[in-house]
Symmetry: C2
Subunit: 155 residues, 2 copies
């Protein structure tokens, strides 16, 4: 749990809070710890319920507020996989990657492709945009035998 990524994230967060004149609150540190112990794509409600279950009491308002702070600090990444729910994942120290979503069982896999950086650069020049980030979503059907039931899961 207390791995190197988490330690680095804490350090970075503290510096960020200081630079922005924001306070180091228990809630913020608890959220960072919880997020860095997860390996999934979660939404605000997931985070809220897990934390409450673990007796790490934090209100929804605080969750929403600080997801914004963590996002601005670059410690988490925001995603939307086709439905209207905003999903997050920890971000620092990990390679840029993109997502592959199964339309039947909603599982999300990750992959990397270096060509995307080239595309991003080329399109930016061509369209006269300063592109800061990309997000490639591939949708399809996975090969799990128990998938074709089209179960509706939340992730």
């Amino acid at each position: 749990m207390k791995d190197i990524h988490y330690e680095k994230a804490v350090a970075r967060f503290l510096i960020f809070l200081d630079e922005k004149g924001l306070r180091k609150t228990t809630e913020r540190m608890m959220m960072l710890e919880e997020i860095y112990s997860r390996h999934d794509h979660f939404d605000a409600e997931d985070l809220y319920t897990t934390m409450v279950d673990k007796k790490q009491y934090v209100s929804r308002a605080t969750i929403y507020n600080n997801l914004e702070v963590l996002l601005e600090c670059g410690l988490i990444r925001k995603n939307q996989f086709g439905n209207n729910v905003t999903k997050y994942e920890k971000a620092a120290n990990f390679r840029q990657h993109d997502h592959l979503i199964c339309l039947d069982c909603q599982q999300v896999k990750e992959f990397c492709d270096p060509r995307l950086q080239q595309i991003q650069k080329m399109i930016g020049e061509m369209m006269q945009f300063e592109i800061t980030q990309h997000d490639l979503l591939l949708y399809g059907h996975c090969e799990k035998t128990d998938c074709e039931n089209k179960k509706i899961l939340s992730n």
Copy 2:
């Protein structure tokens, strides 16, 4: 307005409705016509208000229902550009394209890159997914002089 794309869309829609045993209602045909006369990325509410303004009375429930039908028929495409609003655009007879979004003024531009098809194919084989579609979002800052004000527009 009554261009070739629209005519083809109508034909395709009628066949689709017939095959699925769905009915050809006034509301469905009005929606298709309105959508094919637009050239933007709109949401359910945009469509609702425009149609009501034009005295093409359709309820919100009907809008939502039939956006699903049109989507399944492949006549429209669904998008989410970072906020929690589902945007749509007409789809038939147009080349696959992707989107470039300005984080300041929210304008959306379109582009094509053939390499994406290759990436899609390769990743599908590698990850053992049958990939049916992709969606590449590039985010950045456009070069409009009046953009940096970070105006909040809806599109």
